[in-house]
């Protein structure tokens, strides 16, 4: 705000990761040097996979703390403030991986303000690594600037890489990295002078992404099970499993809207993907507009000759016509079914369809619900459907639901110069199944509130995570079994997990771990309930939404069902100007990108209600 009249004293990012569960606190302190009050803005970007858990502002010694409330209720409660434009909190999309949280407050002359934002996320293993992404843009050099990350991984840290988009040769040595077997400490704390673009300049070099990438030592067979505080989490990604051959049908949209860059990038990506096919894989190409045109009538083994033929065909890919997704996908399904029936495909192999489209179906069946129904019924749980939504015109939620109904997942492909890389990257993630129909089992009488424990596939470079609550706090050994179908044999392991003594693993640490396993479990459960609330039966959707809401409130997570509400100090005209932070869904992000600004709004003090029961009670209990 008003450059020169606001001094940013400190910007600190403190990230603690314990067994992939990251807890990040961003703090910023500024002084209004002006002789009159002025609006000071706090804008930060956080990963879209993270949930905000806390936000507070300290102004003139008064702390204003955020509270997580039910989104719909908060909206209704503050409709009036919303309609009169008294809203302040805003969450916006910021690129592909981040979303922006911004607030502004009026700060009196010569006064300080401190903003603290906390968010949490479960880091996902992709292509063999976890990534912690911190985006920093302090705009001017800051007296105290610090990024600190402490990573605690009881499995042991296999490698750790740190880089930042703004790291020059001068700044690079300032990144301190201390890695021991199970712990890593990373810090970056340039002085004000080191931050400057030139010795007497006001500009700062610090502007961009600070990225930490690491992996843990993979535990063989059973995986790694951690039992802490009555909750357990099971990480499963054993090393050295042979990949399972796949039978993949690429269903490619070549309709008119794909013209220009999109069709060129699709062509380019397909050529690279075809090159990467393993010889034991089978593949097919089906192009579609209003017509469906298979390259061949059945799948072909990925021999050098067949791949070369396919590449020649891909070179000829041209855009034309309308979009008939229904018939194209159904054709892919029937091709796989027929080839299976004719025993042209190996017994132990995985069937998958990869659909790439950029638009809404407008030819043949165009009712989205009906298409989902047709596809689900044709697939019948026998293959996986992965969908790539190219650009902003496609209805992403339609693809997302359709994939999830069919053991797959969807991904948005952003229209940009790197779209080819995005397409390839997604393919790389899903192209190496190691196991299929993976079941992780625990004794019914020992665990409850288990997160999803059946997975259609385990892909190379990814990780399966299951968490749950133990019914017995004193449990020393938890019996665990994992079943799956591998390339040559069935995968079956059994073993016992025991609670580790964290005091022994990290003897020099204070008790920092608290309830991270419980929060990890809650985060995972909420994510899965939110998925279920989109793709389950009507009853399941209602129940999943209600449960996800209850847990979001209980664990103070800002999810798409809740809002973080902070009452700001009164402005000079005596009005309260509350602010609210929401969590965007992928659909909302897409809408926002289409130009529909997503403004979220308002609210004031919230009174908790408690149903008093008669007669009176008098009690004493723990604090």
């Amino acid at each position: 705000a008003n450059e020169g009249k606001v001094e940013v004293h400190s910007v600190t990012v403190d990230c603690k990761v314990t067994s992939r569960f990251a807890h990040t606190v961003m703090t910023s302190r500024a002084l209004n040097k002006a002789n009159s009050s002025q609006e000071i803005f706090f804008e930060v970007e956080l990963p879209k996979t993270a949930f905000i858990t806390n936000f507070s502002m300290e102004i003139e010694g008064q702390v204003y703390v955020g509270e997580v409330k039910e989104k719909e209720k908060a909206k209704k409660q503050y409709e009036k403030a919303v309609s009169s434009g008294q809203t302040a909190g805003l969450v916006k999309v910021s690129g592909r991986k981040m979303e922006k949280f911004s607030v502004s407050v009026n700060v009196a002359a010569k006064s300080n303000v401190t903003f603290v934002l906390t968010y949490e996320e479960l880091l996902q293993r992709k292509l063999g690594q976890y990534e912690i992404l911190t985006r920093v843009k302090p705009k001017t050099p800051v007296n105290e600037f610090q990024i600190v990350a402490d990573i605690y991984e009881p499995q042991g840290i296999a490698f750790i890489d740190v880089h930042a988009t703004f790291l020059s040769n001068d700044l690079l040595p300032l990144v301190e990295k201390t890695v021991t077997e199970k712990k890593a400490h990373i810090s970056f704390s340039p002085t004000m002078e080191q931050q400057r673009t030139c010795p007497s300049c006001d500009g700062t070099l610090i502007d961009g992404d600070f990225i930490i990438k690491y992996d843990v030592n993979r535990a063989k067979n059973l995986g790694d099970i951690q039992i802490v505080n009555g909750y357990f989490v099971h990480f499963f990604a054993p090393p050295d499993l042979p990949r399972v051959p796949k039978n993949v049908v690429f269903v490619i949209d070549r309709s008119g809207s794909m013209s220009g860059k999109k069709i060129a990038q699709t062509r380019e990506a397909l050529l690279e993907i075809l090159k990467d096919l393993h010889e034991e894989d089978f593949f097919a190409l089906i192009e579609f507009d209003h017509m469906v045109s298979p390259w061949r009538q059945s799948l072909s083994k990925a021999t050098k000759d067949n791949v070369a033929e396919a590449m020649k065909h891909v070179h000829k890919l041209r855009d034309m016509g309308a979009t008939n997704i229904n018939d194209a996908v159904l054709r892919a399904v029937s091709m796989l079914v027929k080839d299976r029936q004719a025993k042209r495909l190996p017994d132990r192999s995985v069937d998958m369809i990869i659909l790439l489209t950029d638009g809404m179906p407008n030819s043949g069946e165009s009712n989205l619900g009906k298409i989902q129904e047709n596809v689900q019924s044709a697939i019948g749980g026998n293959m996986s459907l992965f969908c790539l939504g190219f650009g902003n015109d496609v209805d992403y939620s339609f693809l997302d639901v359709m994939s999830k109904q069919n053991k797959g997942l969807a991904r948005r492909i952003y229209e940009a110069s790197d779209a080819t890389m995005q397409l390839q990257g997604f393919y790389e993630e899903v192209s190496s199944p190691l196991l299929s129909e993976v079941d992780l089992r625990y004794p019914d009488n020992a665990v409850e509130f288990l997160t999803t424990n059946h997975f259609s596939q385990l892909f190379n470079g990814s990780e399966i995570v299951v968490a749950g609550r133990l019914t017995d706090n004193d449990l020393d050994n938890l019996l665990v079994e994992v079943f799956g179908q591998g390339f040559e044999d069935d995968f079956k392991v059994q073993g016992q997990a025991s609670a580790s003594n964290w005091d022994v693993i990290y003897p020099d640490e204070e008790y920092i771990f608290g309830d991270f396993t419980e929060r990890l479990w809650a985060y995972l459960t909420i994510q899965q309930l939110l998925e279920k609330s989109k793709s389950g039966s009507p009853d399941e959707k209602v129940n999943a939404t209600a449960k996800a809401l209850e847990m979001s409130l209980q664990y103070s997570f800002v999810t798409p069902l809740t809002s973080m509400v902070v009452t700001k100090p009164e402005t000079e005209d005596g009005t309260d100007s509350p602010l609210i932070a929401d969590k965007l869904t992928e659909e909302q992000r897409q809408q926002a990108e289409r130009g529909q600004a997503h403004q979220l709004a308002s609210p004031a003090l919230y009174t908790r209600t408690h149903a008093y029961q008669s007669p009176p009670t008098y009690f004493v209990d723990g604090d």
């Binding site: 008064q62 702390v63 204003y64 703390v65 509270e67 802490v228 505080n229 009555g230 706090n473 004193d474 609670a499 003594n501 964290w502 005091d503 204070e510 008790y511 209980q554 009452t567 003090l605 009174t607 908790r608 408690h610 008093y612 029961q613 008669s614 007669p615 009176p616 009670t617 008098y618 009690f619 004493v620 209990d621 723990g622 604090d623």
Partner: protein
């Protein structure tokens, strides 16, 4: 431990904390007329937490009903009932009920013990099980009076003194240290106290998370609200 006095007639509640050295035994209820006594002993965390705040909790209660000749000792480990020279031991790990002429007990596995003493008092003791390997915390107990209307007017103790109601007024609501917790002035027992609006938790329906109950918090170990100070309630033995 946190104490809570719920006053449904007023739609309000009062609360305070009592802390002392681990090992201290407090009298919670003493009714000389009916011969009822409830004492509780506190323990602390396994070691001092990083914030340096020592938390104490009840881990053992001794309950006597002299007239009925019943004595109960309830700890986080086990439950013992002594009557007519006999001892019955119950475990928290079993669901069990015991119905006698003077006393009814109901143990809900790893969760609660409901005690009904004939024609006098009904209460429930909650077991809070903490992860065994937790570096700081350990198991503790909560004590909830469910029915006390048959006790005599002379009943006393840290909880007992409130069984027949309490008169108080709260005025002068003003901003506190945090916006959600305003301060106010409370007039009670002829004194003027600075109190703070806050919440404490009732764990009866949800033993893990509890439910927040808004209440007026009386600072400094309930000074001004309780008769005397907390040291007046310290006793040397559980019975």
């Amino acid at each position: 431990p946190h104490f809570m006095i719920e006053l449904p007639d007023r739609g309000d509640a009062l609360c305070f904390n009592i802390n002392d050295k681990p090992g201290t035994i407090f009298t919670l209820v003493r009714d000389p007329e009916s011969g009822i006594l409830v004492n509780g002993q506190i323990i602390g965390d396994k070691k001092i937490p990083p914030d340096g705040k020592i938390n104490t909790y009840f881990w053992r209660f001794g309950i006597i009903h002299q007239t009925l000749g019943v004595r109960l000792e309830v700890s986080t480990r086990e439950i013992s009932v002594f009557q007519d020279g006999k001892r019955v031991k119950l475990l928290w790990s079993d669901t069990a009920s015991l119905k006698g002429p003077n006393v009814d007990l109901l143990v809900t596995k790893d969760r609660s013990l409901t005690v009904t003493l004939k024609d006098s008092v009904k209460f429930v003791i909650l077991l809070h099980k903490v992860w065994e390997k937790h570096p700081y915390h350990r198991d503790y107990l909560g004590f909830y009076t469910l029915d006390s209307h048959l006790l005599s007017p002379s009943v006393h103790g840290l909880l007992g003194q409130f069984y027949h109601g309490i008169e108080y007024e709260v005025t002068d609501l003003r901003p506190g240290e945090v916006p959600e917790k305003p301060d106010a002035t409370m007039y009670v027992k002829g004194q003027e106290l600075n109190v703070t609006r806050g919440w404490q938790r009732d764990f009866r329906r949800d033993v893990k998370n509890g439910e927040n109950v808004p209440c007026w918090f009386i600072h400094s170990n309930g000074t001004g609200l309780i008769d005397g100070d907390e040291t007046d309630y310290i006793v040397s033995g559980l019975f």
